[in-house]
């Protein structure tokens, strides 16, 4: 939207499934622009994205169903462009333009 998006923001797609969409306005897919750098000036990584999501996108009060002790709740899988985030450095993964980050919960029932 702003003219400086190339320098200041990274466009990404964030998806929620497995029941997590319930926490995010019942919407599976979110197109977002997140800052390129976190408060400390380091390139934005998943840890920062999670914090950003909690502060800006997650409206549901039950935030603990998404994060626990500052990181993604155990039982929620994170896929970076379809790859398990554990293969990508977990929350240290530095987010790239047009990345697709999927959070899928294994915690909900059928």
């Amino acid at each position: 939207m702003s003219g400086t998006k190339d320098d200041k923001a990274i466009p990404i797609t964030v998806e929620f499934s497995g029941g997590l969409e319930m926490l995010f306005s019942n919407q599976r897919k979110h197109q977002l622009s997140i800052p390129t750098k976190d408060e400390a000036g380091s390139p934005s990584n998943i840890a920062y994205l999670v914090k950003y999501l909690c502060e800006n996108v997650l409206k549901d009060p039950r935030k603990d169903l998404f994060i626990l002790d500052g990181s993604v709740r155990p039982g929620i899988l994170v896929l970076v462009n379809d790859a398990d985030w554990e293969l990508e450095g977990e929350d240290k993964y530095e987010i790239q333009r047009n990345d697709n980050i999927l959070f899928v919960s294994t915690l909900h029932g059928g």
Binding site: R73, P74, L107, G110
Partner: protein, 438 residues
């Protein structure tokens, strides 16, 4: 990080990190390995017989959807020669089951399997909405759990099916092992850890409820891999939480399992294996019937807590809260169900299992004095299984749990309601309820 190549094909980029052995696989190799392992589980345990008709307990959720998909694939690939059908249970909870049932209906088309949906109202004369209206939101999970356990068997009987498979996965089994361990309920371990929970036939009637076989082909499959399989195969499943136990997330045993997994992923299968090994050590667990009836009660108590019966709002993993939680469950169970049911004459039976020689010992203290290291508090193992006098369902009691619960429900049914038998309920009742609910 540079992309890692798949450990199997060494060509494609690895997308999956397997929790059980840390191997890094590409999508195609993962799907193949996942299916092959289920095939291995099926064949090494002789789960299926050629010509058998098998009902898949289908909820529309990830586990049963993956189970249906994989079994269809394997049945075709390896020519099991079994006939697969879908069996869904509708608890009668408005706004909860509706979407899942729609998913199951789509699955039926996608997998080309016939689908039967049976409602609690049809089976028991009560929907869960009506039960909650009468007993309140506290404790209704007991009813739901008892009804659900029998519902699949009853449904199978109606369909003339002798074998029901369910989507229980390794995480579910590990969770149950931990729960039983924390409760000190070792006798129940053998029931909850065995992959087949067949029931010895107590009657010659081919239509009796007593000879439905249950099995869990996904018993060794990680929940994580089930979800990844569904994701990478683009399977159509639905995730939901029961509206009567929101945020339960199946309680804190589940949270503990997930925390363990994050620290050491192999922990889940290790707990499952430990459970199996411990079950073997429980006196009287298997010997009496040569293992053939290692689990007389069809998938019964194992599912306890499998749903939202624990109101686990606590964020997770702390042992203290876990224990408090279990204590709560225990109290709930004993206040409600257990006492009602165990009162009539279980005492004599409960010790057979501890030591073959002390069958006549009647209470727990004597058993202990004889040097037994533990005294299981409940869950009589070596029960004489018979049939419920009322409904014919397999039961160690004269009247099965469901019928006991139904009796109390029916007794208290508001006066303006027509009295109905436990099996049939006219639609009019439902309408009356709708009206009163507004």
């Amino acid at each position: 990080m540079p992309p890692t190549p798949c450990a199997i094909c060494r060509t494609n980029r690895a997308l999956i990190l397997r929790p059980k052995d840390h191997s890094k696989l590409c999508k195609e190799c993962f799907i193949n390995v996942f299916e092959t392992e289920i095939h291995h589980t099926v064949t090494t345990n002789n789960l299926f017989n050629r010509g058998e008709k098998i009902a898949i307990g289908a909820s529309g959720g990830k586990d049963s959807t993956v189970l249906a998909s994989v079994l269809k694939t394997l049945n075709e690939r390896y020519d099991y020669g079994v006939e697969l059908i879908l069996l869904s249970i509708d608890e009668g909870i408005k706004g909860y089951r509706d979407d899942s049932l729609e998913t199951v209906k789509r699955n039926a088309k996608q997998y080309d399997m016939p689908l039967t949906i049976l409602g609690y109202d049809e089976l028991y004369g009560w929907t869960m909405d009506q039960v909650v209206e009468q007993v309140g939101k506290k404790g209704n999970c007991t009813y739901c759990g008892v009804f659900r356990r029998q519902a699949l068997d009853r449904g199978a009987v109606r369909l003339g099916v002798k074998h029901v498979v369910t989507g229980h996965n390794a995480d579910d089994v590990a969770e149950t092992v931990l729960m039983n361990l924390l409760r000190g309920d070792l006798p129940r371990l053998s029931r909850t850890t065995s992959i087949v929970t067949s029931t010895p036939s107590a009657s010659n009637d081919p239509n009796s409820h007593t000879n439905i076989k249950r099995s869990k082909p996904l018993k060794y499959a990680y929940e994580k891999e089930i979800v990844l399989y569904a994701h990478h195969k683009n399977l159509d499943y639905f995730s939901t939480e029961c509206i009567y136990s929101p945020e339960a997330f199946r309680g804190s045993a589940r949270a503990l399992i997930k925390n363990l997994e994050r620290v050491r992923p192999s922990a889940i299968l290790d707990v499952v294996r430990s459970g199996e090994d411990m079950a073997k050590l429980v006196p009287g667990a298997d010997e009496s019937c040569g293992g053939a009836c290692s689990s007389q009660v069809p998938a019964a108590e194992e599912e306890e807590g499998g749903c939202g019966s624990s109101n686990g709002r606590n964020a997770g993993g702390k042992m203290a809260s876990m224990e408090a939680h279990l204590a709560q469950n225990e109290v709930a169970a004993e206040n409600g169900l257990e006492i009602e049911i165990t009162m009539n004459g279980v005492n004599g039976q409960r010790h057979n299992r501890q030591d073959g020689g002390t069958a006549s010992v009647v209470n727990g203290k004597k058993g202990r004095a004889k040097g037994q290291a533990f005294t299981p508090r409940k869950a009589p193992k070596q029960q004489v299984m018979g049939q419920c006098k009322r409904c014919g369902y397999l039961s160690s009691q004269e009247i099965c749990k469901a019928c006991v619960l139904l009796e109390s429900l029916n007794k208290n049914r508001p006066k303006n309601h027509i009295e109905v038998s436990s099996h049939m309920q006219e639609e009019t009742n439902g309408e009356v309820h709708n009206v009163t609910r507004g």
